[in-house]
Structure formats: C-alpha cells, structure tokens
Symmetry: C2
Subunit: 291 residues, 2 copies
C-alpha cells in the first residue's frame, strides 16, 4: 500500500543507453518523473509477480512511453500468465506505437541474454508464483601483450580484439581471449521481493555488488507475521546478505504498519554491517572495480 | 500524464458519512493518503470515460479499500462497458471483501438517486464516450407554523414532519410540505473533464456552487489544439462558467505542456472573475446558504 513519501517498490536500472524496469506499481511513472528520468528508453520490464502493488502502474507507464513516441519493441518478462495479465490491464492502454514481446518464465530458473548484459530469473517463495532477478555485466580480462605475442597475434588486430571483436584473418579465427588475461570481476545486481528466505535467493545473490531485498518487518517480534504473509523480516534479509557475501544490502518494501524503518538500522547492521534501510528515490552508480 | 506536484485528476466528495469518488487515475490513493482521508467509506465511484489517466488507479484503490476491511457494496457508475473495463483491470485485484454493483450509463442524460443526494450524468464531447456529473443536495423549506395551523396539523407531528417523515395518522397522509415553506436552495456541484464545450455542460452546470472543469490549455493561441484533441482552453471553460452562472469555477486537468497554469489567472478572470486556477489537493467545504 503506498504511503506519502513511501511509494510502491520498483527498480530502474540504466545501462548502455537502455533502461530496465523491475516491477511497476502504481505511481512508478511519477517517481521516475521526480528523478527526471525518461520512461522512453525502457527496453525491458521484469515482473516478480502479479500482486497489484508490483504491476498496477503498467498501463500508465505504457501510455507515457507511447506519448514519448517510443516505437522500438518492449520486452516484458514475468511469471506464467504474464501476457494474459498485461493484455487484460491494457484494456485502458490499447493504443501504443510499439510492439510488446513477452518472455514467460516457465522453469524454476531461467537465464536471459540481452547482449551486453545477462539477467537471470529465479523462483522464490511467496503466496503466488514469484521470481527474483539478477542482472550481470561481464568484464573482459586485461590486455596482455605477452600473451598476444605468445599467440603470435599481429599488432594491427590488438585494439579490435581488446574491444571484443572476433577476427578471421583468412588463416585462422582470432578470439579476444588470445590477447586478454582472465575475465575480471563484472557487476552484479540482485533484486528480490516478495518472498520468504530461500536457498535460491542466497545462491543467486552470491557476490552481488548490490542486493536489493524486501524487508517487510523491522520489529524483532514480527517473525511469525512474516512467515504467515510469506514475507521477510529485516534480519532474515540481512542473514541472506551475509550468507551470499554481497557488498551491500538495500532494504525496501516495508509494511505500512512500520512507520520508521530506519529505527532498526543498528539491529540489522549487527547481522550485516553494509545494510542500508533505504528510502524512496535512492540511487547509486555501480562501477567496475578500480585496478 | 502525471507530473511531480501535478497528479491525475480526481475528485473526492464527502457527504453524510459517505464518500463519492469521481475518476481515479494512477496515484489517486496516494493523494488521498496525503490528505489523511480514508478510501474505506467510498460508496460510489463515477467514471467520466475510460482513458487511463481517469481510471488506472482503480485496482490499487479497490485493494486498499479491501485492506481497510470494507465489506459494504461499492457502486461503480460509468459509460457503456464499465463492467467489462473494471473486471478486466481487476485481473490484479480479484480478492476484495466487498461486492461491486455497476450502473452502466446508456442514455445521454441519467439521473441517479442516492437517497440523501442526487447525481446526474450527462454526455459531453470527447474523442470517446465521456460523461460529466452533477451532485445535488436538496434543502427542504423552512418550518412554517402558520401553514401547519392552516393545514390543521397536530403539534405532536411537527418535529417528525420537519425531519422529512411522512405520517399516516389513521385518517390522512400528512406530508412535510404541509408544514414547510418552499424548498430552499441546496448545494450543487458539477464536474466535467474531458470535453469540448457543449450545451449539455452549460445546462447541467447551471447555478452550481462549484463547477470543476478541465482547462487543458491556458495559452490563448492553443484553441486549435484544444479542438483537435477534444479538450478546452481556460477561456472556453470560463465562458461556460459565466453562461451557467455558477458561483465558482475551478480549473484542472492541465496539459503537461503547460508548466505554470496560474500565469493565465488574470486573463481567465477577465471572462469569469470567480475562477480558481486550481492545484493538487485543493479542498473546500460547501455549506447551505446562511439565511
């Protein structure tokens, strides 16, 4: 339920000129406007599940993208039934000048290749089918002139190989790994609401630079309520963050019954120190590690 | 399209313990929360038309009313197709603990009797079927003891008759008008978006205490654009207000292309002095005239 200063949960990721939106509750387009971000470059929308607080902003968002004269296709990813749900909501958003392509998740875990980044959907545990998502940007190894020389790669190809190009010089296929060191650490982001803690979250969040996770309840005595409603406490989310050895945890998706989530910051940091009890509009730039 | 500080158009009227909502764009429930008003007592929702900016907030509102444990039926009024549109949007709001009763408008003008107030829907002129609404609270005449005596009404019935009761004393049916003077002026409210100016608006808005009307464009050179998109300029709305002799006009539903609607206040007041170029969250108490 949205509150003033605390809207419904949604994540926008911007990478390489494209935007990816995960979940789109009522008011997401207003929140975007407040950031000064355009919805037009949203190429991919991923939905965790079909509860209204995660998808009710979709028809308005589609129309606003249409008003911004988007014409490129939009890919919508979601649980089984995604096309039916979106097309049903589109009774008030029929006229949009771009095509919608659907990816309906059928397995427990599915990898999605979007070219310059990868995503993975993994089933979590809520009272209806629900998925978490990771997004990963790979980073090639450092250029290694010694390796290039050992592999007898002419210098004229070095720069192109370094940019990832595969070259056929007429005699052989030259691949970037022939001039590059081992792949370096890329960037990994994991997003998970609404769920009880699961093995799949720990495993998929492993090593994330940023792990955004629901924390429905901050009060230590609300574990039973969390179990009943298939949500997590702050402390359960922090335990996952610790076990998955993520760099930073952002809590979100607080219960309307929790007026001051930040009041529990110390308690949750006792479990996982790099926790942010996040509030609306929080952003960060995730960059490759300096070397 | 919603903007920060300028959300989608919606009107909530509270009377006699009941609330009436006209239109419910995305974010309406957040706007209500900011006012500190509960959506639970909304007994009646009226929709002008099925463009998303007027109805996209409905699924979330229904769920929030359900979370507030409303169990009384809700009446939803709207153009032909209202039930189909609402039920289609309800793909994400199936589980609500109250019944929805539909009133589908079929004629150009329809009167709706809600007991202690009356509403009227009247067709306006947009690019899809669209209705304006009036709401009227009647006010009985003043108690007239001379008339009561002339009609030989026993004093024991005076108070009950004054409260509107009809009494059968075994010999005759005694009605309130037998002890009351002529009906006094009640309260009238008219709401109209989205439309070109029409005779039906002028006629139905006549004598309103408050006339809330779209003003899509404030710039005097945007008349052609208003005609093209089937909307009104501020000046057209003011001319209707003048012709309908309303007490006050509130403009709303501004184009996103109009950043400072209040800049045109002087120009529009030259046509109709009692114009308010309204902004979000505006409220007023409408009361019976002092006598």
């Amino acid at each position: 339920m949205p509150l003033p200063q605390r809207w419904l949960t949604s994540l926008m990721v911007r990478y390489g000129g494209r935007s990816i939106l995960i979940d789109c509750g009522e008011g997401t387009q207003v929140a975007l406007k407040e950031k000064g971000w355009s919805p037009k470059p949203i190429d991919i929308m991923c939905f965790t599940h079909f509860h209204a607080d995660h998808i009710s902003g979709l028809p308005g968002m589609l129309l606003t993208m249409g008003n911004a004269e988007r014409t490129e296709p939009l890919t919508i990813v979601g649980p089984k039934g995604i096309e039916q749900v979106v097309e049903s909501l589109r009774i008030i958003a029929r006229d949009i000048p771009f095509e919608i392509r659907y990816i309906e998740l059928k397995s427990k875990e599915e990898s999605l290749d979007f070219g310059d980044f990868r995503m993975k959907a993994f089933k979590v545990s809520h009272n209806i089918t629900c998925y978490g998502y990771t997004m990963e940007v790979d980073r090639a190894g450092r250029f290694d002139p010694d390796k290039a020389k050992v592999n007898e790669i002419p210098m004229m190809y070095w720069s192109r190989l370094q940019k990832g190009e595969v070259i056929d010089d007429g005699e052989r296929i030259i691949t970037p790994d022939m001039v590059l060191g081992p792949p370096r650490k890329g960037i990994k982001l994991t997003y998970c609401t609404d769920s009880r803690p699961t093995e799949s979250i720990v495993r998929n969040a492993e090593g994330s630079d940023l792990f955004i996770c629901e924390g429905m309840y901050g009060e230590p005595d609300k574990l039973a309520k969390a179990k009943e409603h298939k949500h997590m406490t702050f402390y359960e989310a922090a335990s996952i963050a610790k076990e998955a050895a993520v760099k930073e945890l952002w809590l979100t998706h607080y219960s309307p019954s929790l007026p001051k989530p930040k009041a529990y910051t110390a308690e949750v940091r006792a479990i996982f120190p790099d926790t942010v009890v996040a509030s609306d509009g929080r952003t960060v730039d995730l960059r490759f590690d300096e070397e």
